[in-house]
């Protein structure tokens, strides 16, 4: 109160108290609402389908089948934090998947080179996006809509519309079908991506800068954040991760399907947006994305086991998305925009 000195920034302040715990219940509970919902769904389906739903086989199926989608949703989330949309992630995933099948099958490239080439393609599309969106200040939605369409064309040209499945070496598919210590590899990859992203976004300055840009690009720039660099890295990481997702997809299913990307587009965005309603309310966050994708997958899986027809899946996904974002709005309140363009 009376001590007036220019104390160096790193010197500890007097007596650190534990964080205020008043009304902790009110502020903490909504953060874990989706975890509760997940548990509820698991319990309900376990009671309704005790033989099939809670089995190890079914659990493994759900985990593996959604690993690629989770990585893609994580990718989409990164630029979204800074209010940039990358609508091309599903297309990049599709191209990467095709190349992962075609480069060894048609061009006969060795597996290590295939992996590098596929990731490099994603990286380069990220660089292109950063150049157009950040450097030339074009709207991200338009740019990525353009590249997305363009990539669709490249895929058609490369595959002639046919599924690529011949000549894919086992050493590649082993990387998608094997497991380590009982954990299926795709799930392991997804867990690593999520953990690294969590660390970088939550614990590294770069992550804080990204959220600062999402809060206000002008303020962040004037506060000394290199906004151009932060946004560029976000876009490049996004495309590279999308390529990784496509690569893992081909490793797992052992083929390249030119029309597979459409199945990933909306679910990836749904998973990213749902994360607004979990853990870090009103902010896109990686753990929220993982939870969201699995919440949707487990819900759909349970409904399928109950014998629900196939149209139930999109209906369930759509309703869950709107309800969850609505809940996020309620818990964040009106004091703040839920995300930049809203």
């Amino acid at each position: 109160m009376t001590d007036i000195q220019n104390v160096p920034s790193t010197s500890p302040a007097p007596a650190a108290r534990p964080p205020a715990d008043r009304s902790a219940l009110l502020t903490t509970l909504p953060r874990f609402g989706m975890v509760g919902l997940l548990l509820l769904i698991v319990v309900v389906f376990s009671v309704l389908r005790p033989d099939t739903f809670p089995s190890a086989v079914n659990l493994r199926t759900v985990l593996v089948e959604s690993a690629v989608l989770t990585i893609l949703a994580l990718a989409v989330m990164i630029p979204l934090i800074a209010n940039d949309f990358d609508l091309s992630v599903a297309a990049v995933l599709g191209l990467a998947s095709i190349l992962a099948a075609g480069l060894p099958g048609l061009q006969g490239l060795p597996v290590p080179l295939v992996i590098v080439a596929v990731l490099l393609v994603g990286f380069l599309f990220g660089v292109l996006h950063a150049l157009l969106i950040v450097r030339f200040e074009l709207p991200s939605v338009v740019v990525t809509l353009g590249t997305s369409t363009l990539i669709g064309g490249i895929v058609l040209w490369y595959t002639d519309g046919a599924v690529l499945y011949s000549g894919i070496p086992a050493s590649l598919t082993d990387l998608g079908r094997g497991s380590l210590l009982g954990v299926p590899l795709p799930v392991l990859y997804m867990a690593i991506v999520a953990a690294v992203l969590w660390f970088v976004l939550d614990r590294r300055p770069w992550g804080r800068y990204l959220y600062a840009v999402g809060s206000s690009q002008a303020s962040a720039r004037l506060a000394g954040v290199d906004t151009a660099r932060v946004r560029s890295v976000a876009l490049i990481t996004c495309s590279t991760l999308a390529a990784l997702a496509g690569l893992i997809l081909t490793m797992r299913i052992g083929s390249g399907n030119p029309s597979i990307s459409s199945a990933y587009f909306l679910p990836a965005f749904a998973g990213a947006f749902l994360s607004l309603a979990a853990f870090k309310l009103g902010f896109f966050n990686p753990l929220g994305v993982v939870l969201s994708v699995y919440l949707l997958a487990i819900g759909v899986n349970g409904l399928t086991l109950l014998g629900a027809p196939s149209w139930v899946e999109p209906v369930f996904n759509g309703v869950a998305l709107i309800v969850a974002v609505g809940l996020a709005r309620l818990s964040v309140g009106r004091s703040r925009k839920l995300f930049g363009s809203a």
Partner: protein
């Protein structure tokens, strides 16, 4: 549509109370506004002004008390105008427009806008984009629009929430004339401001709020500026009175130097900020003052000329430019990081120094935020409070704390005391003085010299992109500065 019976008062509030949780935001507030009069509502941040306005607007319900009023129109500080649309379009938008054969009847809209704006000489401006008008005229359009939208055709009261705080000094008279013209129609005007000089010049009567209670309501002539300050604060603020330092005695070598700076408003300007000194730069809108501060802080590039920081050329947006402290005047849009917490707002420049094994230490970050929140007396002191829940003055302190935390060698602060209450102002200026004593060069800008001049060592006045006055503060009077500005 029934016109409410014209009573002898425009607005009468009696025994109004409003409670938020444990806080009594309004405590037995009573005040009366006469038709045709201008009534100022003043008080420090957190005194209950905003709550009162929100109750009047129907945004909050009062817990107790009653309000007698006819139709009320509100114009907020953020005028709610769309800058890229024309004045006419701004005038018409947001209500059912005149229609003819399924199309907007622009002819009728034009007549309506001209009728409302002619009195202020703005009838020829209706085809121009809103953003091309001076801010005072934008405010006048916003007020005229609010009155034009009356449902009953007889607005009894007009509430203006800090209409002047964004205005350059020379435009205030323009708005003041318009306010008098509106009052002359028999409208009671309630106007909220931080500028006490305006209260004296403009208001017939005033109400002073402190901690949710009315501490004075009556004729403006019954009090004066020192009296108002005392009413608002409850006691004279400690920082008022003669400054205790010896000005510019310890000015060191130059830390920020501009040579031959040209921008669209600067004309081959040379400028220096020395270590240990506080330079106050004053000028009216368009004098080049705004451009100078951005350029010297390395936040905008000059069209020609060079900025040197600590002896080396400073490139805009470079890592070195990010070491220069910069507090922008547009705090809501360019200063705070909305949506983030006080802690995150303060720590954003210091993250590199609080890493523990490559990871931001939550504890070190909280300590850092708590330290600066304490040093700057930020309220609430909880570093995890969202920044937007703080009052403007406390947000400003957090933006300043962000820079103080990295001990910058140079700080450029635009309008550092804008929209800030007396206590916060004293605290902010004291911290800037401490930074200067620690060897930093400090540059402050303001359109109102009286706001900060007593805290400066050296005064520079700009006009037409050139320096018209550069002298130690001790040798100058306010009159010298004002005459150099005009």
């Amino acid at each position: 549509m029934t016109s409410s019976s014209r009573t002898s008062t425009a607005l009468r509030i009696h025994g109004l109370s409003k409670r938020f949780g444990a806080t009594l935001a309004l405590d037995d507030v009573s005040m009366t506004v006469e038709p045709g009069s201008i009534h100022a509502l003043i008080g420090l941040n957190g005194s209950g002004k905003s709550t009162l306005v929100k109750v009047l607007a129907g945004f909050h319900d009062a817990d107790e008390g009653d309000i007698e009023m006819g139709e009320v129109a509100f114009v907020h500080q953020d005028l709610g105008l769309l800058p890229t649309l024309t004045v006419l379009e701004n005038f018409a938008i947001g209500r059912p427009m005149a229609m003819r054969r399924g199309q907007i009847d622009w002819k009728a809209e034009r007549v309506r806008a001209i009728t409302a704006l002619r009195e202020f000489g703005l009838e020829n401006a209706i085809g121009r984009p809103m953003s091309s008008l001076p801010q005072a005229e934008q405010a006048i359009v916003a007020i005229a629009r609010a009155l034009d939208r009356s449902a009953s055709g007889a607005i009894a009261t007009l509430v203006l929430d800090e209409p002047t705080s964004a205005l350059p000094a020379h435009e205030i008279d323009m708005l003041a004339d318009a306010m008098r013209a509106f009052a002359a129609r028999g409208v009671g005007i309630v106007f909220i401001t931080h500028r006490l000089q305006e209260v004296v010049e403009l208001a017939d009567s005033l109400t002073v709020l402190r901690n949710g209670r009315v501490v004075f309501t009556g004729r403006t002539a019954e009090t004066d500026i020192p009296g108002m300050v005392e009413l608002m604060v409850g006691e004279a603020p400690a920082a008022a009175g003669a400054p205790e330092w010896t000005p510019s005695a310890h000015a060191g070598p130059p830390v920020l130097v501009g040579r031959e700076l040209r921008t669209d408003t600067l004309d081959a300007l040379d400028f220096e900020v020395r270590r240990g000194e506080i330079v106050g730069v004053f000028g009216m809108a368009g004098s080049g003052m705004e451009s100078l501060s951005e350029v010297l802080a390395g936040r905008a590039s000059p069209t020609s000329g060079e900025v040197r920081y600590d002896g080396e050329p400073l490139r805009t947006g470079s890592a070195r430019a990010r070491e220069v402290g910069y507090v922008p005047s547009d705090r809501p849009r360019r200063g705070v990081l909305p949506g983030l917490t006080v802690r995150e707002n303060i720590s954003v420049r210091s993250l590199g120094s609080i890493l523990r094994r490559g990871s931001i230490s939550a504890r070190a970050e909280r300590d850092l935020a708590r330290h600066w929140a304490g040093e700057l007396k930020i309220k609430p002191a909880d570093p995890d409070a969202p920044i937007l829940t703080l009052s403007g003055g406390n947000q400003q302190k957090a933006v300043l704390g962000r820079w103080l935390a990295i001990q910058p060698q140079a700080i450029v602060a635009e309008e550092p005391t804008q929209g800030v209450d007396v206590w916060a102002k004293a605290e902010i200026l004291r911290r800037l003085r401490l930074a200067a004593e620690g060897g930093a060069g400090v540059l402050l800008t303001a359109v109102e010299p009286e706001e900060i001049v007593e805290f400066c060592d050296r005064v520079v006045v700009l006009r037409g992109g050139r320096v018209t006055l550069d002298a130690p503060r001790s040798s100058l009077s306010i009159t010298d500065i004002l005459s150099a500005m005009h």
